[in-house]
Amino acid sequence: MSTSLPTTTASSAQSLPSAAEALRLFHRMQLIRTFEEQVRNLYSGGMIPGLVHLCAGQEAVAVGVCSLLGVDDMIASNHRGHGHCLAKGADMARLMAEVLGRRTGYGLGRSGSLHVFDAANGNLGTTGIVGGGIPLAAGAALSAKRRGRRQAAVSFFGDGALNQGLLFEVLNMAAIWRLPMLFVCENNGFGEFTAIEDVTAGPDPIARGLSFGIPSETVDGMDVLAVRAAAQGALARARDGGGPTFLVCNTYRFGGHHVGDKHDYKDDADAKAWRLKDPIERFGRWLQDSNMATASTIAALKNDIDEEVRAAIDLAKAAPFPAADDLGIHLHA
């Protein structure tokens, strides 16, 4: 990182998770991975219409941040959002039903993977517009500030949104109004099919936060504990009235922009190097090294997740498609 701008660290209150909490982090990341592997299979089998965008490789960011949020802390996701939804507590069968376009889904199967809303768990939605969720999270933070109950909001967006004007507008307002929120950039190196360095000016992405006087930090997005530590400090500041934080979590999208994208524009050596940083394998090793889990507990946990996901898929596949009567409902509140 080469920057002459001042950097600040958000990680003031780092604490290691308990064994139980650590296993929950692992469980949630693995659940997302398994869920998405099944989405890929279903898509390849022609079960899913349209497009789906998977987050394999990026699970540590969603889980690290959302593990610290309550149901009344709001998040706004992006187009690569299954991980955020599940990390925030979404019901897997309902999420899968939405992805499959079934009536038991979060939007009656009318909205699809790109438009999943989960009010009960504080999720303002995935969105098909790059950067589109950023102001929604800020609006939730404005509401939270008015309520004064120490709630916070988180906006997840990719490096593609670093070049949306909307981000700059919202960063500015979040700073001047000291909104209790986190801007979490999942920098996976590619905006759709284009490398970040080909389309992004400036010394470092965190300069976008720093230029508004917002505490900003670069985080190893492949390390769930690093993400969690950074988010912990940032959330404490937000809840204490200290305003927003801008986190750039460096991560990698193991797959393409969407299922079906062969992603041959990636550098092979680079992709291989990132694979070695797989956040789930890495955290699994850490759990064992820290004597929080054994290889067999991890294997058992994965088996349980396989079954859980299979059951969710069965439930979703058994659900009906929305009927013609569903076409016009909910147009107006």
Binding site: M74, A76, Y106, G107, L108, R110, S111, H115, F117, D118, A119, A120, L124, G125, T127, G128, I129, G132, I134, P135, L136, A137, A138, G139, A140, A141, L142, S143, A144, R146, R147, A153, G165, L166, F168, E169, V170, N172, M173, I176, W177, I329, H330, L331, H332, A333
Partner: protein, 330 residues
């Protein structure tokens, strides 16, 4: 009998804002220069002093981001009234309005609603030129999920603002800035005009003039001219463009058998076309003549004093067109 209380259009909207903000703490205002400055048209004067900066929020000149924040606030318990200073600037918020606000209730299957009012000043006048004079309501009536109102009188402005704030979805409130000083009767106290209800502003039997926003007053002036010519014109103000009170419009056209639709926005692909075809579909067998559309000239609105007045139709021309229609010369 005492004469009814009067107020200006500007003051009538303000009455609704004061009253709704007193009734409901979740009503907040957001916009440029609306706080301490009281609004560029003095349309929010006094609200900041009464309710403070937490509820009357001056935004930076960042329409897209600020409006998006209002949408997020609306999803999480607030009822924002968001002001876009000039109607021309709605172009800056279109993504957040069209792709988010209008669709969130539907996409979320009712889990989230967006109880938000977007108010914006439109209309030609004062030589403000091509980027500060447009009436772009035709852009928004096209989008499912939005309600769109355009009151023409102080009473309707008060009643529709109250209705818009109480509505649980996004409502667009177009106010013609050339009407701000118009003074007329305004009911005291709590007053709500239901969204989706047209009003017959003048009854007649020979021709129906459906006029929108400021054009209502032009149509009433034309009706006066026509009366001198022994032609009886009925003037109807839809007041709401979405939902449109089709029944009231069609009933009138079935009575008069002739219809003219007048709007201050661009004529091409405008709301006059939609209303004219709706009326024709429902009252074809009753019509004695084609439905006539009259709109603003399809040009960027010129600044020059010699040209600006040529953009909008005037009462004399409308009266001539109506007379020709009634006498079978169209």
């Amino acid at each position: 009998m005492p004469s009814p209380r009067t107020a200006t259009y500007r003051a009538a909207v303000l009455e609704a804002l004061f009253s709704e903000m007193r009734l409901d703490d979740s009503v907040i205002l957001m916009g440029e220069d609306i706080g301490a400055a009281g609004g560029v048209f003095k349309q929010t004067e006094g609200l900041f002093a009464q309710f403070g900066s937490e509820r009357v929020i001056d935004t930076p000149i960042s329409e897209a981001g600020a409006f998006g924040i209002a949408v997020g606030a609306a999803m999480t318990g607030q009822r924002p009234v968001f002001e876009v200073m000039f109607g021309d600037f709605i172009t800056l918020i279109m993504d957040q309005l069209v792709n988010q606000a209008a669709k969130i209730n539907y996409m979320s299957a009712g889990q989230f609603s967006v109880p938000l009012v977007l108010r914006t000043a439109v209309g030609i006048g004062g030589n403000l030129g091509p980027q500060h004079s447009q009436s772009l309501h035709a852009w928004l009536v096209h989008i499912p999920g939005l309600k769109v109102v355009m009151p023409s009188t102080p009473a309707d402005a008060k009643g529709l603002m109250a209705a818009a704030i109480r509505d649980d979805g996004p409502v667009i409130f177009f106010e013609d800035r050339m009407l701000y000083n118009l003074r007329d009767a305004v009911p005291d106290g709590d007053y709500v005009v239901p969204i989706g209800s047209a009003e017959i502003k003048r009854t007649g039997r020979d021709v129906t003039i459906i006029a929108i926003g400021r054009m209502v007053h032009m149509a009433l002036a034309a009706a006066e001219l026509l009366a001198k010519d022994e032609i009886s014109a009925e003037v109807i103000d839809p007041r709401s463009l979405v939902p449109l009170d089709v029944d009231t419009l069609v009933a009138s056209v079935k009575k008069t058998s002739r219809a003219i639709v007048v709007d201050g926005g661009y004529r091409q692909y405008g709301v006059t076309g939609e209303i004219a075809s709706t009326v024709a579909e429902h009252a074809f067998d009753w019509l004695d003549a084609p439905v006539i559309r009259i709109g603003g000239a399809d040009v960027p609105i010129p600044f020059s004093k010699s040209l600006e007045p040529l953009v909008l139709p005037d009462a004399q021309q409308l009266a001539r067109d109506a007379a020709a229609l009634v006498r079978g010369r169209r």
